[in-house]
């Protein structure tokens, strides 16, 4: 979804929404009351404080009055059927939606109590703090070294070559890729396997030492082994980063996250401890979705 052009994404979402609407024969009690979220949407120590967030694509309201806290150093998973707005919401967190002209974001979104959508706020600085990993591994068609070094270079994080070397090595180590590629840092990144490419993208994201890493379906293009590696990486990284992950694989959400948020047609239906969501979710829609009754 992330790789499609904005117009297409939007069309796809609309089509999906209509389909989802037809499929859900929601009983009376499952009708969602706007702006209400069951479970524990708030956190004691929030990294992101998001209140009454609404996102419009032209006339269409893609995100409908969502309030959510994302805690410091927690792994939160966004799940939901296609077109439920989870990717759109994720992209608000580092303003990746800015490049879409018709996309308007309303409400208050704060990172460490600073407004993300402040007109004075520099997007470049925000994105250095909030890194992103995409659905399809998208390394630059350059060498492995240059891929990782690109971020530190443009942000001027290293003054000397040796410093840059250290950053590259550390990032690759953290991404669990160092031993595989240390002898061929000059090889082009596009020649790596899909799983390696995705871990390289993660290394590239952590090379600029962000505080938050957003992951938009990071494993959807990977085989199970590569997926397991990336998941392992996520749980290792959760000690030092706040991680927000959008995923279509409920098992993955169950495995890697502390909290799980369920999105439905632009509403945030339920946020709860992952353990609770996958054994006894509070909301009927969540239950229907995770047990495979629609979606």
């Amino acid at each position: 979804m992330s790789t499609m052009n904005p117009a297409m994404t939007r069309e796809g979402e609309m089509a999906d929404e209509n389909r989802a609407q037809e499929q859900v024969e929601a009983p009376a009690e499952t009708i969602i009351e706007e702006g209400t979220t069951v479970g524990r949407p708030f956190s004691d120590d929030p990294k992101f404080k998001l209140r009454n967030v609404e996102v419009f694509y032209g006339q269409d309201r893609a995100i409908k009055n969502i309030s959510l806290d994302i805690g410091r150093n927690e792994v939160i998973a966004f799940i939901g059927p296609s077109g439920c707005g989870k990717s759109t919401f994720l992209r608000c967190l580092n303003r990746m939606n800015d490049s879409i002209d018709i996309c308007k974001v309303k409400g208050s979104l704060a990172l460490d109590d600073q407004n993300i959508y402040d007109s004075k706020r520099d997007v470049v600085e925000l994105r250095a703090r909030v890194g992103m990993v995409f659905q399809k591994p998208n390394p630059f068609p350059k060498s492995i070294y240059d891929n990782v070094a690109y971020g530190p270079r443009i942000h001027g994080l290293a003054n000397r070559k040796s410093e840059l070397d250290d950053i590259v090595e550390n990032s690759l180590r953290k991404a669990g890729l160092w031993n595989e590629v240390k002898d061929r840092l000059d090889a082009t990144a596009t020649g790596m396997s899909g799983g390696q490419q995705q871990r390289l993208c993660i290394a590239r994201a952590i090379a600029v030492s962000p505080e938050v890493i957003l992951m938009d379906e990071p494993c959807s293009a990977l085989d199970p082994i590569a997926t397991a590696r990336v998941e392992e990486l996520i749980s290792e990284m959760s000690e030092s980063y706040t991680i927000v992950i959008v995923t279509h694989s409920m098992q993955q959400a169950a495995r890697v996250s502390n909290r799980t948020a369920y999105f439905h047609l632009g509403h945030l239906v339920e946020v709860n401890e992952t353990n609770k969501v996958f054994t006894s979710p509070e909301h009927d829609l969540t239950e229907s979705y995770i047990t495979g009754r629609f979606g």
Binding site: F278, T279, S280, T291, G292, R293, F294, G295
Partner: protein
């Protein structure tokens, strides 16, 4: 197979998954019915001094064992193939646990049948059978209600069964005391009374298992584990 539209486990996108869950459920109920009739027939054999019926009960226990193995395997396959979550996961897990309880109940029925044979061979007018009959009716209704609660996902009924268990225990205590009096009256009764004691004990165990089934039904429906928690807690969970 029941109509899937009416069943909360029958509305998955995957029809195969629906069928598997429904099959698991209905086979479990079938096993429950069989176990229930085992207990009932064992008691009848005892009260009627019917050694033949008791033999039949002992033979049928093999079938119960067979069903336990089959159900466990089905449940395992569902977990392996479907990775059930939430309600579905709770159903499968509960079934695995309850199957073990049912099998135990089957074993108790077999034990009762064994004593029934023994007592019928001794061939004297039974004493204490009134109490046995009484408790048996009680635990049988608990068992039936537990299976009903499972079939109808009725956690309130399950909660009632949990409370009922206390009364079975009280009745068991009372019956034991009565039997003790018999034994003190006439020492020749001791051997037979001991057998009846064992039967009462077995029935009390059946009540415990019925109570376990009820706890599992509450877990299945409400998603909260009520084992080893005070009844008040369970009441809060089940709600008004």
């Amino acid at each position: 197979m029941p109509d899937r539209k009416d069943d909360v486990y029958g509305d998955h996108i995957s029809h195969k998954f629906n069928d598997e869950l429904m099959a698991l459920k209905s086979e479990f109920l079938e096993m429950g019915g069989l176990v229930e009739s085992q207990v009932d027939r064992a008691i009848t054999a005892l009260v009627d001094n019917d050694g033949h019926l008791a033999d039949e009960v002992r033979a049928t226990d093999k079938k119960v064992d067979r069903m336990e193995v089959d159900l466990d395997e089905e449940a395992t396959l569902i977990i392996a193939r479907r990775q059930p979550t939430a309600r579905d996961l709770r159903l499968v897990i509960s079934v695995i646990k309850m199957v073990a309880d049912l099998e135990r109940v089957g074993d108790e029925a077999k034990k009762i049948a064994k004593f029934a044979i023994k007592l019928s061979e001794e061939g004297q007018a039974p004493r204490g059978y009134v109490e046995v009959r009484h408790i048996a009716n009680h635990v049988l209704s608990m068992l039936r209600d537990a299976l009903d609660a499972f079939a109808r996902l009725d956690s309130a009924q399950a909660l009632r069964i949990m409370k009922e268990d206390k009364r079975v225990d009280e009745e068991y205590q009372a019956a034991t005391r009565t039997l003790l009096t018999f034994m003190m009256e006439d020492t020749r009764n001791i051997s037979r009374c001991m057998s009846v004691m064992w039967i009462l004990r077995a029935l009390e165990r059946v009540g415990d298992h019925a109570c376990n089934l009820a706890e599992n039904v509450i877990f299945m429906v409400e998603g909260e584990d009520v084992r080893h928690t005070p009844v008040e807690e369970a009441e809060r969970i089940v709600g008004p």
